[in-house]
């Protein structure tokens, strides 16, 4: 064999090795790309997308529920049937014109919890009541203006309940005989996500961190905790699809004439 041929053969071997190397590198790069992209998509983006904010006052629903007769005592329906949302100062002042609780005793076994509550109330009275200033609550369930939602219709409707074989998931609340059905209904959608746990709002001892979508400015509760958008429960999210599930069924079963304008007035 002549020298140049040899060289050619050697060249061919090199080429093979080289393309295998390139292939391996490409595969590796593709893997890295895939990994980075999945990592960013699943783990980094949720962290970046949502800002974490604390409510101006750490309100304790559980304590208040002991004093009142159900959710709608404070989250009232106005005379015209519209839902008033978060209570206003004028409602709170009925009880909290002055600080109601006493400073806890450091010896108390619940000292820390009691102190937290006490501080929250002092802050509320000093910063808001005294200055006649509404508390700028961050609303977890705030929807865009193009959405019309009637709490009254849902609260009063026979159709609105979690079915035994709930298509979407197990009912978050089992209606007990002695339970106010209204409250149970509120909790079907309004759950507080505290430290990864879904707690009915009425039972929550503090308010969840408000995670605001930096792009849309709506709460994370609307899209849902699950970043993929797949949810198990009624209360996991409050996007259009969630409403549509039930509304579509109703329409398909001929029970209603639901259409876009039911919600988009």
């Amino acid at each position: 064999m002549s020298g140049p041929e040899k060289t050619q053969q050697n060249g061919a071997t090199h080429k093979k090795e080289d393309s295998a190397g390139v292939f391996a590198m490409s595969l590796f790069a593709a893997g890295i790309g895939l990994y980075v992209s999945l990592f960013v998509g699943w783990l980094v983006l949720p962290e970046l997308l949502y800002s974490k904010q604390h409510q101006p006052i750490d309100f304790n629903h559980a304590i208040h529920m002991e004093q009142v007769d159900g959710c709608t005592d404070c989250h009232v329906f106005r005379d015209d049937g519209t839902y008033a949302g978060a209570p206003t100062l004028s409602q709170c002042i009925d009880c909290h014109e002055d600080v109601q609780s006493v400073e806890p005793d450091p010896e108390d076994e619940n000292y820390e919890d009691l102190m937290k509550q006490y501080k929250a109330e002092v802050k509320f009275v000093e910063e808001y009541v005294a200055n006649d200033k509404e508390v700028p609550w961050l609303i977890y369930a705030r929807q865009p203006d193009c959405v019309f939602f009637s709490h009254a219709a849902h609260l009063n409707s026979e159709k609105f309940k979690v079915l035994e074989d709930g298509k979407i998931g197990a009912p978050p609340v089992e209606f007990e005989d002695d339970e106010e059905p209204e409250d149970a209904r509120c909790n079907m959608c309004h759950m507080a996500f505290i430290k990864g746990e879904a707690v009915p709002f009425g039972e929550a001892e503090s308010l969840p961190v408000y995670e605001e979508n930096r792009i849309t400015t709506y709460s994370r509760d609307i899209w849902g905790r699950n970043f993929s958008g797949f949810n198990k429960h009624y209360y996991d999210s409050a996007k259009m699809d969630d409403c549509a599930q039930c509304h579509n069924d109703q329409r398909n079963e001929g029970k209603s004439k639901d259409a876009c304008f039911v919600c988009h007035k």
Partner: protein, 742 residues
């Protein structure tokens, strides 16, 4: 593996592909897509209505004298909409475009938000914010200084008419202060008041039972262009048209095809300024055909014999046609004359005919000669004080039962007003505001201080240049404007008024309404800015001045003065917001209508300018979409003005197609419109809706102040014309001016 360019690209592409595949399996792209679509619904400039408790509160609109009952829809404390109140005695659920958009006056950029004091030169627009205490003491000190120097008569005051408690408080202040110089601008309704005194010997204003009339002859009255109480007129018109069995005929006698003329059963075009002569010609027909109401004429009138003679000799339709018919072609004149005759006959034969005066929206006075003629038609057919569908006199309200004004020696002394009157008029010189600028300019130092309360003379008076020169001569101008209006630019200090939604305002019987009705506006929202009701401001100024002036204002505030003024009406007004005198019966006993023989041609008001130099005549066009008074349009209203009146920022004038051709103009041509007093660049709109030789100029445009939405649009009609005095009253009755288009 060698890291050459090719391999590098391959590996990177693989990495990117991996990334791309990964992104398909992560929510990243889907989530971001969803979020961006939600984000796009949240543009910061997209208005989002407030969420809150919806409530409605009723009040009376006080933006014009119309007296409409309105309700404000509020979300929590924020007003979001105004609507008419069903069953409102004047408007029954209706509302006009100004009333509807009044919230733009509350929140608009032209709102004066705090007391201001001029910092730069006049017109420079430099102001410093001051407190209310500073504002009140500034004004009271200046007025006290002038009074101390024996100059009390050199203080003038301009209000928006004479009626209402606020105007009465300003009048009272002027009396206690010792100045005779309180003025307001007369309107067609002032002309009616004068005419009622002259023809019926009564003190009162004109009311028309339009809802019941069945044949209406309107001499240029823009019934659907803002005349009277505008919403009531729209509703009356709908009623006429609803009832097919008893069709009400509306004949519009007008120089142009106004909105009213377009909706009338018949439009009889005439030359502007000949309304009186046309009415006399109609009287001629009615008398000649023996169609007049003998009972009424014999028993309830005087002067018929002379009137009869004059009408028969001077006002034959053929003769009147020579001046009044807009096209002087024999066959046209013949048809026109026949039309006039047939309309006069139908009018006289109708069961409840009614003749109306008041050009356009009625805010310009009408000459007494013209009114005499038009009212003579009403007398001939027995429409004065007729049970139904006639004209009634609403007696002037009693004086407010306030304690007497306390006068010091200075205030007791006689001082002539700066404006002189011609003959005896009901309000003396007071409603001759149109003559004030000339008087100020003629007499140096005539006025040293001026209070402008609810008026905008720089805009509303004819001959803006003369008015501006007069204002410039006044050392100290106090404006109570709620908006940065035209006169505001000349003010030295501003004490901004509330908008009626924030205030208590009384609304006396609306012009032309056939029953005494009183409305009350009550605060339905808290004041949005640091403003104060004008009534409170003047009371505070009076109190700060001390002495007899303070003694003349014994009330704690405007509310007390209002309550005392309303007297027995107060309870009804306080609880219902409106008081209607349902038992009202017009005074008939011993009331005789006096015919005036002189009317029509010889008393025709001649316009300024020679025919040779100025061959055309400007005639104003009014529309409900353009406010012509002290208060300008709201931004929304300006947007609704058609481009045959305003194109971008240019005034569009209407010219007959023949006239346009004669002067070489086409649709949209730019032209210079020149009158003996001013010039303006305009665009020409060619149309058949106006008689040849006329230039139709929209009124209500060309404000020099306000905001970008209202100011600087078109030209103010009043800058182009100059006042022409009615020989009988001295009111400015100019219905136009001679002009040329080049």
């Amino acid at each position: 593996m060698k890291l050459n360019r090719r391999n590098f690209l391959l590996v990177s592409t693989a990495g990117a592909a991996g990334g791309a595949v990964g992104s398909m399996f992560s929510p990243l792209s889907w989530k971001l897509m969803d979020d961006s679509s939600v984000w796009s619904q949240n543009w910061p400039w997209t208005p989002v209505p407030l969420d809150g408790e919806v409530s409605f509160e009723e009040t009376t609109c006080a933006l014009c004298p119309g007296g409409c009952r309105v309700k404000v829809r509020k979300v929590d404390s924020r007003p979001v909409k105004l609507e008419g109140v069903d069953g409102g005695p004047v408007n029954d659920g209706g509302i006009c475009i100004l009333g509807l958009t009044a919230l733009q006056l509350v929140y608009g950029p032209a709102r004066v938000r705090t007391p201001l004091k001029r910092a730069g030169k006049r017109g420079e627009g430099k102001w410093v914010e001051i407190t209310w205490d500073e504002a009140i003491s500034d004004v009271s000190e200046k007025l006290a200084e002038l009074k101390g120097a024996g100059q009390s008569k050199a203080v003038g005051c301009i209000t928006n008419g004479a009626k209402g408690v606020t105007s009465a408080l300003f009048a009272r202040f002027m009396e206690a202060y010792g100045s005779p110089n309180h003025y307001w601008q007369a309107t067609a309704w002032d002309s009616y008041e004068e005419n009622i005194q002259r023809t019926l010997g009564l003190n009162g204003s004109a009311g028309f039972d339009l809802e019941k009339a069945d044949y209406i002859l309107s001499f240029g009255a823009g019934l659907l262009d803002g005349w009277g109480s505008p919403v009531r007129m729209f509703q009356a018109h709908s009623k006429w048209r609803e009832n097919h069995d008893a069709h009400v005929t509306l004949v519009q006698i007008d120089a142009q095809l106004s909105n009213t003329a377009a909706k009338a059963d018949k439009w009889l075009p005439i030359n502007p300024g000949t309304e009186g002569a046309v009415a006399m010609a109609m009287a001629h027909v009615i008398i000649s055909k023996n169609l007049y109401d003998r009972g009424y004429v014999n028993w309830s009138t005087t002067g018929f014999r002379d009137f009869f003679r004059t009408v028969q000799t001077e006002y034959a339709p053929e003769k009147v046609a020579k001046i009044a018919c807009p096209v002087q072609k024999p066959e046209y004149v013949k048809k026109w004359t026949e039309e006039l005759e047939s309309r006069a006959i139908a009018f006289a034969k109708a069961e409840k005919p009614l003749a109306l005066a008041g050009k356009g929206n009625g805010d310009r006075p009408v000459s007494q000669a013209e009114l005499n003629a038009i009212q003579s038609l009403n007398a001939l057919v027995g429409s004065i004080n007729r049970e139904e569908g006639g004209m009634v006199v609403i007696p002037d309200a009693d004086k407010y039962p306030w304690p007497p004004v306390v006068l010091d020696a200075d205030a007791k002394g006689y001082k002539p007003a700066l404006v002189t009157t011609k003959g005896r008029t009901k309000y003396g010189a007071s409603n001759l505001l149109s003559n004030l600028p000339k008087a100020i300019n003629a007499q140096h130092g005539g006025l040293k201080a001026l209070l402008v309360a609810g008026a905008n003379p720089l805009y509303t008076l004819a001959d803006t240049e003369e008015t501006a020169a007069a204002l410039q001569k006044i050392e100290y101008i106090v404006s109570f404007a709620s908006q940065m209006d035209d006169t505001f630019t000349y003010a030295d200090i501003i004490l901004p008024d509330h908008i009626y939604l924030e205030s208590t305002v009384d609304v006396p019987t609306p012009p032309g309404f056939a029953k005494p009705v009183y409305g009350l506006a009550k605060p339905v929202i808290d004041p949005v800015y640091k403003t104060k009701a004008m009534g409170d401001s003047i009371i505070e100024i009076a109190k700060a001045m001390g002495g007899t002036i303070a003694e003349s204002f014994p009330w704690g505030g405007f509310g007390d003065a209002m309550e005392q003024a309303m007297n027995e009406k107060w309870n009804a007004l306080d609880s219902d917001g409106v008081y209607v005198n349902e038992d009202f019966q017009p005074e008939k006993e011993g009331i005789r209508f006096r015919f005036f023989a002189r009317a029509g041609m010889e008393d025709r008001i001649s316009l300024q300018g020679s025919v040779e130099k100025y061959p055309l005549v400007i005639t104003p066009c009014d529309t409900i979409r353009l406010s012509t008074g002290a208060l300008a349009d709201t931004p929304f209203m300006v947007k609704t003005v058609s481009d045959t009146k305003l194109k971008k920022r240019e005034l569009v004038v209407q010219v007959n197609t023949m006239t346009a051709q004669q002067y070489g103009f086409k649709e949209g041509s730019q032209a210079i419109l020149e009158t003996p007093v001013a010039k303006a660049t305009v665009l020409v709109h060619c149309s058949e809706e106006i008689a040849p030789g006329l230039v139709g100029v929209p009124r209500g445009l060309g404000h020099i102040a306000y905001d970008e939405f209202v100011g600087g649009k078109g030209t103010n009609y009043n800058t182009l014309i100059s006042p022409v005095q009615d020989p009988a009253t001295g009111f400015d009755v100019a219905w136009g001016i001679r002009a040329k288009l080049t």
